[in-house]
């Protein structure tokens, strides 16, 4: 499968994503500069983490209008896969490909540590694996998921919440919520099931040397679901 990793000015997890996809999963990877419009035949688009445009104005707000985003939006609307990680999730929300917004952590602190996630919805194109609880690191200052009452209800009713911050037993508790996200939301997908946004970084735990391999499950799930 050919992946396209978009690089914005200020992206800083792009090389980690490229490394995992290219060297761990042995897939073809196209590096896409944000000023391009051509996705170069990429089948799955990855919007990586970082601080695109220095987070000026709002996280993801300026990146969302980079030239390549028109092509990414068209790619997503045609049902092909897009995954936004951390800043990538923020960009997807700003672009309207996912509902809601990510605001400042309730602690006001930048949090960088592994967290436990409940796979709130198994069997999606991004969660075709038997594990119901995974451990993946977060690294963000603005990962506090917000949506208005109706929007939140919609996510719940349609089962679009994919990952939730949980304790080690997989229970959703306030103590396990690192940033104040409503419903402990760590990741959501769109209704068509081809766009995933998540704050945790699967590319940071896809090899045993990195202390965990749960992140790899998500990339492998994309391969299984969207190849061919």
């Amino acid at each position: 499968m050919k992946f396209g990793v978009v690089i914005f000015p200020g992206s800083n997890c792009d090389q980690d994503c490229i490394h995992v996809l290219r060297n761990v999963l042995r897939q073809e990877v196209e590096e896409l500069w944000h000023k391009e419009r051509n996705l170069c035949g990429s089948e799955c688009i990855v919007l990586p983490g970082g601080f695109s445009y220095g987070d000026y104005l709002r996280t993801g707000a300026i990146a969302r209008f980079s030239p390549i985003m028109d092509s990414v939006i068209a790619h997503a609307r045609s049902g092909r896969p897009v995954i936004g990680i951390c800043n990538g999730f923020q960009i997807l929300c700003e672009a309207g490909l996912l509902p809601g917004a990510l605001i400042r952590n309730r602690s006001l602190r930048f949090i960088c540590r592994p967290v436990t996630l409940k796979v709130a919805r198994q069997g999606t194109p991004f969660t075709r694996f038997p594990k119901g609880v995974v451990r993946i690191p977060i690294a963000h200052g603005e990962g506090n998921y917000f949506n208005h009452g109706d929007g939140l209800k919609d996510l719940r009713d349609k089962g679009l919440v994919v990952f939730q911050y949980a304790d080690n037993a997989g229970d959703i508790t306030d103590a396990a919520n690192p940033n104040g996200s409503l419903d402990n939301i760590a990741g959501i997908m769109n209704e068509a099931g081809n766009v995933l946004g998540m704050m945790p970084h699967p590319e940071r735990c896809s090899e045993p040397e990195m202390g965990g391999t749960d992140g790899r499950l998500i990339f492998e799930s994309i391969l299984t679901s969207f190849s061919g």
């Binding site: 104005l57 709002r58 707000a61 300026i62 209008f65 929300c93 700003e94 509902p99 809601g100 917004a101 605001i103 400042r104 952590n105 309730r106 602690s107 006001l108 506090n144 917000f146 949506n147 208005h148 929007g151 104040g180």
Partner: protein
């Protein structure tokens, strides 16, 4: 002409920065501040144009880029030089 745009978090969105600032004011013995809302303030130097045209343009700017309507509200004023 100049346009002055205020953007702030909607009232139902938690504002941890405002909360922290309120706490700090209290610790500095400034009593009676019940809530602090932190916003953004933009000053736009613009070409002169009819006010109605500027209003339409500013509204579009706010809704497209300067504010995120999911979490923020905005208002603006226009000043002729």
């Amino acid at each position: 002409m100049k346009a002055k745009v205020h953007v702030q978090l909607k009232r139902d969105v938690s504002d941890p920065r405002g909360f922290a600032i309120r706490g700090s004011l209290e610790s500095l013995a400034f009593q009676g501040v019940n809530k602090v809302h932190v916003g953004k303030y933009f000053v736009l130097d613009m070409d002169d144009m009819p006010e109605e045209k500027a209003r339409v343009m500013l509204k579009a700017m706010c809704e497209k880029l300067l504010a995120n309507p999911v979490i923020e509200s905005y208002d603006f004023t226009i000043e002729k030089d």
